[in-house]
């Protein structure tokens, strides 16, 4: 079947490609948070005065450590959590006090939340059923969505007869059938094994591109965020550290937390500034015109075409050098060796000073 049938209701009819259609709808952002705070009673708020704009048709990852407020943010977007202060907009329309169903969002839960007493097909068809769509019609549509997630062959199974990955596909189909303007995913891949995780994530990306709607995806995995995102929002301690296109976040982290959390960066002090340098721009050994730091080789990780070497500096910091295997075998350093890490000053990216905590 043609995917365009599965697009949000607001989308124009086929045959045009969906993500192009989104541009014609005239709204600026798919989702917007304006100074949103969430507190549970006295004490530090769970989400502290955050503002965020998610452009049309983006795959946006909310990334951060456990307890940073990213899930709460997602649940506020979904309408499953009250907003203490601030406003939420979906497609430029304020939805702060609307019911989940009236927001045009749909949430995919971490535990999938499939209805245990309904078959895959009926799970997917549920939202049509509650809208009063006739049985044959809703089953037909639901089957189409099961096809989209390649689950049509297991349509009659109950959730507990499905594997984790299969349950997730059903949950995805069930979310999509509501034709949401924004799909919210709460750690959708965390329960899957690594192989499935990679497969599913390309699947998610494919579906997002085809539907052209925004996906907002909560994760604590940097790899996942980097692989999927158009836009990454890094959160820590109830605040947004950085919200920017993926490349910008990776190459020019705003502060040491972002740099460290995303990985691939060494955070060090140079000329009293805190700076970050990409690990693949660092090398072992001194070179003229390059800045350097001395340390002891603490660990060597062979990763195939690359080798990750960890250096313990005299101050106790850990620095990483990512070398090509050719370079590595040329130098052949050993654990325990004293070594020097050097980098080009132009590769330094100056970080904002971190607040305490």
């Amino acid at each position: 079947m043609n995917l365009s049938q599965l697009k949000p209701k607001a989308a124009l009819p086929e045959p045009e490609k969906t993500h192009l259609k989104q541009a014609t709808q005239g709204h600026r952002f798919d989702a917007e948070l304006v100074a949103v705070t969430k507190s549970y009673g006295p004490g530090a708020p769970a989400v502290d005065d955050i503002s965020l704009r998610i452009p049309r048709g983006s795959y946006c990852c909310l990334l951060g450590p456990s307890g940073c407020g990213k899930s709460t943010t997602l649940r506020m977007l979904a309408g499953h959590e009250d907003v203490t202060e601030g406003a939420i907009l979906i497609h430029d329309e304020e939805v702060t006090h609307k019911l989940p169903v009236d927001r045009g969002t749909s949430m995919m839960f971490q535990d999938y939340a499939l209805f245990p007493h309904l078959s895959s097909l009926d799970n997917v068809a549920f939202s049509l059923k509650v809208r009063g769509v006739a049985t044959t019609e809703r089953r037909k549509q639901a089957r189409a969505y099961l096809e989209l997630v390649q689950m049509d062959h297991l349509a009659d199974r109950l959730p507990n007869q499905l594997s984790g990955g299969q349950q997730q596909r059903v949950a995805l189909a069930r979310s999509l059938i509501t034709r949401p303007k924004v799909l919210l995913l709460d750690e959708p891949l965390s329960a899957l094994d690594p192989f499935l995780r990679i497969k599913m994530r390309s699947e998610l990306k494919r579906i997002q591109k085809e539907l052209g709607i925004s996906f907002i995806h909560v994760t604590h995995s940097q790899d996942e965020a980097l692989a999927l995102s158009d836009m990454i929002v890094v959160m820590n301690d109830a605040k947004i550290m950085q919200a920017a296109p993926v490349r910008e976040v990776f190459e020019t982290p705003t502060n040491a937390f972002v740099a460290r959390f995303l990985g691939g960066q060494n955070v060090l002090t140079s000329d009293t500034h805190q700076v970050s340098v990409r690990t693949d721009r660092c090398r072992l050994g001194r070179s003229p015109g390059m800045r350097s730091l001395e340390g002891q080789i603490a660990m060597i990780e062979y990763q195939g075409n690359l080798v990750r070497i960890t250096l313990q500096t005299t101050l106790g910091d850990e620095m990483t050098v990512l070398q090509s295997d050719t370079e590595y075998f040329a130098q052949n350093p050993q654990i325990g060796d004293t070594a020097v890490m050097s980098w080009h000053p132009s590769d330094e990216h100056v970080l904002d000073p971190m607040q305490a905590g």
């Binding site: 456990s66 307890g67 499953h80 959590e81 009250d82 006090h97 019911l99």
Partner: protein, 280 residues
């Protein structure tokens, strides 16, 4: 629990009113019991009140005290002793059986339907059957043999059903996780299952304590000499009338109220400890 955290929906008020009305209905006859227990010394078991006094409580606590109210303190002691033993036995046996039902095993239907039969058979008939069986075998009935046995036929089916509720949808992953971490069967039981089903265990013990304390039909022929509390009350009601029975009702409510509050405190504390342990 996740619900709409917005404005209370209209259904909230409708249902809250319903609950309120139910509470009034529930406590109305109880209120009569409580009020009438403070009947004056000349008063009877129904309205009007002939003055107010704590006379009937004194009668209750002073035992016979020349008031001819039967030997309520001894009956109470007997009942409590029996209830404690039956409560603990029911808890152990039901938990054990509940664990058994997590697998398929031959005879599962047999035990299950025996339990249902035990619930369904008229109590006096079970009691009579047991007494008759003991009689045919030439055994003497006694509170600690036939008495406990007869009460167990009443409490165990409920214990089993509660275990079914408690263990239903009990996620086997907890146990599997514990096994992965090297726990043996005993550790798995004590360190994983028991803490999780603890509220259920408390519920079974409380429920069987209560039903043991209340049971007469099965007990009366099998308890041997010495009446239990409800037997004593029934005996009293058949030929006398005295508000001391309402005083018993008030005191039981008071005692059980304290018990419930205590176990509630324990449960919420446990729940809190658990949630603080698992809090993100």
């Amino acid at each position: 629990m996740a619900t709409r955290k917005r404005k209370r929906p209209a259904s909230f008020y409708v249902l809250a009113t319903l609950l309120g009305a139910y509470a009034v209905f529930l406590y109305a006859p109880m209120a009569c019991v409580y009020v009438l227990s403070f009947q004056g010394p000349q008063g009877g078991m129904s309205f009007p009140m002939v003055g107010w006094s704590t006379h009937w409580f004194q009668v209750l606590f002073q035992g016979t005290g020349g008031q001819g109210v039967g030997d309520i303190p001894s009956a109470f002691r007997r009942s409590i002793r029996l209830a404690l033993i039956v409560g603990v036995l029911t808890m152990i046996i039901s938990v054990s059986a509940g664990m058994a039902y997590r697998r398929k095993f031959p005879g599962a239907n047999f035990v299950f339907y025996s339990a249902i039969a035990s619930m369904v058979l008229p109590g006096i008939f079970v009691g009579f059957g047991i007494a008759l069986t003991f009689n045919l075998l030439g055994w003497r009935v006694n509170w600690f043999s036939s008495g406990i046995g007869a009460q167990l036929t009443w409490t165990l089916p409920f214990g089993m059903l509660i275990m079914f509720i408690v263990l239903g949808r009990f996620n086997p992953a907890y146990e599997e996780a514990a096994t992965d971490l090297g726990a043996n069967a005993r550790q798995r039981f004590w360190m994983v299952i028991v803490p999780i089903i603890l509220p259920g265990i408390i519920a079974i013990t409380m429920a069987s304590l209560t039903s043991s304390y209340e049971e007469t039909a099965r007990t009366q022929l099998n308890v041997g000499t010495g009446n239990t509390m409800p037997m004593e009350i029934t005996g009293l009601l058949t030929a006398a009338t005295s508000p001391v029975i309402f005083a018993v009702g008030t005191v039981t409510t008071f005692v059980s109220f304290s018990l419930v509050i205590a176990s509630l405190l324990i449960m919420t504390r446990l729940a809190k400890r658990r949630s603080s342990r698992t809090a993100q």
